[in-house]
Symmetry: C2
Subunit: 460 residues, 2 copies
């Protein structure tokens, strides 16, 4: 098996494993107690905090360990918003943040707060200008990820942090995807991260709040971790998290170069060997190990199954995967194709041959899925009205509407239009994306009796 989903969770680093085992016997007691076992647990916890703070680039007393990265984000956002409640009730996030940030923003809106979602350009990055435009006198907090979890694009965090500092607004950085590679640059105020992204164990998040940042913890009081992370400290896991962060950092420079070459090769080869594919994300300003692409006329879930059978574990932000039918909010915000989406995120230490084998297998897997989808049933061209053709794809799920569109576009004259009737939410994203890839004109969306009509004009 080749596990290519490190952006979701990395396998346990050998150093983490060692540290966890060693501290199971030393770190189980209550570090608040004064007896020997408690003092020993406290020493382990303090040492882990020192190590983590050094890697983050903050003071040990600015850093607490939470039970997950999600919890660090939830607490960080809620605490900073509550701490600056008197300044105002405005929150800024980018449109491509992790769901833990976006769900925090929704919770804040439900309580009456105002949220600005800064859009991204097609690479997935915000521009410093548009982020700056969102800053207001009543802005309590701004949030920006260090790098995107779905496409790997790095955000201009240092420049945005500088802008925020000038405006007197604290910036919370979700550094989940990047902290293993290096510290976050710029004058950030709050930072959140997750150990299992860098090969640490599950159950450990990091929350750093710079001194001087107003911060008010909400919910029931709890004395542990400076009152910022309720519940008994999971010291063996914390020790393992800190040890593995130090270990991956020591390997980061060399491994980044190697993974960057591998992902550059994937970017290049996928575009060359898979027809009708869009490789997304910034080709240069990106994380070393992540590459994402979308395949026209492909059901993402079917492709994942196909790749799984071939021994490759990847994930997808496609609209057709998993329990949810909503296309990835990241791909949507970028305005790129979401259908047949695949995210490859290489774990540190991955073998180059495994990547080669993936590239060898991928074109056949994509072709196989396309073949199965190639003969959609009972899609009737409802008739030609002059030079306009109507395709009824109601009740058909992605990628069928786009496949049907592609089949009939040649039947209308250049300048003529195709109206695709669809009630699949993904069509709203995928039909414009197809037009851009195929250099046809996307005219727009019109209401229809059921679903919507997506109108496309043939240009060539």
């Amino acid at each position: 098996m080749s596990y290519f989903d490190a952006a979701s969770a990395a396998p346990l680093h050998p150093v983490a494993r060692q540290a966890l085992l060693a501290s199971l016997d030393e770190g189980w007691a209550d570090p608040a107690r004064l007896y020997r076992e408690g003092r020993r647990a406290r020493m382990l916890l303090d040492a882990a905090r020192e190590a983590a703070a050094e890697a983050v680039g903050c003071r040990p007393d600015e850093l607490v360990f939470t039970s997950s990265g999600t919890r660090a984000v939830h607490t960080g956002i809620a605490g900073a918003l509550a701490g600056r409640r008197r300044v105002g009730r405005h929150l800024i996030v980018s449109a491509v943040e992790h769901s833990s940030v976006l769900h925090s923003a929704e919770a804040f809106e439900a309580e009456g707060g105002a949220v600005t979602r800064v859009p991204v350009v097609r690479t997935g990055a915000v521009t410093v200008e548009s982020y700056g435009d969102a800053l207001r006198s009543d802005t309590a907090l701004a949030c920006l990820q260090s790098a995107n979890h779905e496409v790997g694009t790095e955000q201009p965090v240092a420049a945005v942090a500088e802008l925020c500092r000038e405006a007197g607004v604290p910036l919370l950085v979700d550094a989940a995807q990047s902290l293993g590679w290096g510290p976050v640059a710029g004058p950030w105020s709050v930072l959140a991260a997750s150990a299992h992204k860098w090969g640490g164990p599950s159950g450990v998040g990091v929350l750093a709040v710079r001194k001087g940042v107003r911060f008010a913890v909400r919910g029931p009081v709890d004395e542990r971790e400076s009152g910022r992370a309720a519940g008994f400290e999971n010291i063996p896991a914390i020790v393992a998290a800190a040890a593995s962060l130090r270990a991956v950092r020591a390997e980061a420079a060399a491994e980044a170069v190697r993974l960057r070459e591998l992902t550059a090769r994937i970017r290049e080869r996928v575009a060359a060997v898979v027809p009708d594919v869009e490789v997304v994300g910034d080709p240069r300003r990106r994380l070393p190990g992540i590459v994402t692409f979308s395949c026209l006329y492909v059901d993402g879930e079917a492709l994942l199954h196909e790749l799984d059978r071939e021994g490759f574990s990847v994930s997808s932000g496609s609209s057709c995967t998993s329990s949810t039918l909503t296309p990835s909010h990241v791909l949507k915000a970028m305005g790129v194709l979401s259908e047949g989406n695949v995210r490859v995120s290489l774990p540190a230490g991955v073998a180059g041959e495994d990547v080669e084998r993936f590239l060898a297998v991928l074109p056949g897997a994509v072709a196989g899925v396309r073949e199965k989808l190639g003969a959609p049933v009972a899609v009737a061209a409802a008739g030609v009205r002059g030079d306009a053709l109507v395709v009824d794809a109601l009740g058909k799920r992605c990628p069928i509407p786009v496949i049907e569109l592609a089949k009939v576009i040649g039947e209308v004259p250049v300048g003529g239009t195709v109206r695709v009737l669809s009630d699949d939410e993904a069509a709203r994203l995928d039909i414009p994306a197809w037009c851009e890839m195929r250099e046809q004109e996307y005219v727009g969306e019109e209401p229809a009796d059921r679903g919507s009509a997506y109108v496309v004009r043939r240009l060539s």
Copy 2:
């Protein structure tokens, strides 16, 4: 070293250790993913949930794993209160709940909710009658621990659950101290527990919410664990928690008998060999492994240090320990002496000889602390007003005010009074408790220029 603080955290059970190691390699991936590693993680998680649900006595889909027992309590209380918001804004807790429950109650009060704190009798238990009296038509939730964490007294949970069911009020049971010994009886609605109390790893709590209980999770949305425990699941720890729960349950019946004998012996011997001691908690309706006593004229923290030097790790609910100067709310609610308090909580598997050695060491340790405290400095008997004596213990911390009282009580005639001036919060509890132990009359507390004057009448 003899570790006698299992009620705080138990050392890792060998079965937990084995299960943790085994699942580090199998359970690190995201269980929401469809590829092999994800499916494997999901299977481990599902199996752990089945095992834990069986031990709790609920359906697997009623149980989620949280990141700690504290988190389970916080989420359980907030969720049940929010789910029954329309019924009313009244919460019932016992006065001797764990701080996670009491802090949740305070947070609820801060939001405008009303809280009734049901008092306990001198053994530390609520009576079913007084609990029933607290039920109101607008009661949204009632909380009762299965057994007390400081003194081991079992609460009449089954009877209270029955009352609550009749009243249509859900009962949340904090079963942290008892779940390793057996399931909670009676028709409870919500149950919270913590794995590291039964020898599981840190970082795992259990929250069970019966079907039909109205429950609304607060805070940002998160899909994991039925939306009730945000953040990536810590599957290796969860597997270890479930495996060790099953293991300790298999040993529970025999081990309970053995520990009960050991603690009965401590109860009896401590009362016999330590002068001026009060053994607290219910002598029969109690957890097998916990015994708590308080020693007059002893500084709890000094005694803990003395015992630690002799190789015994125990904890204290005394006012003189740790970072806080407030006496334990549990001892306070029971109306028993808090000074020189020691909680012995035996871990499963403890050796009988260690207990004997503890009993051999304890009298000398208590005597040593008393000797050191025996000559308090600069406490001036400010003068006799008729048959009234005033002791100025301002600025002196527990147990000095009580020691001074004991020294001078013989100097006033029977029927005369001693006024102890003290600004130590603990005096408010310890002086009445001393009077009860010494059969003197506690007249009451009067305001003074600094602190309070505690008036005691000599009866014998």
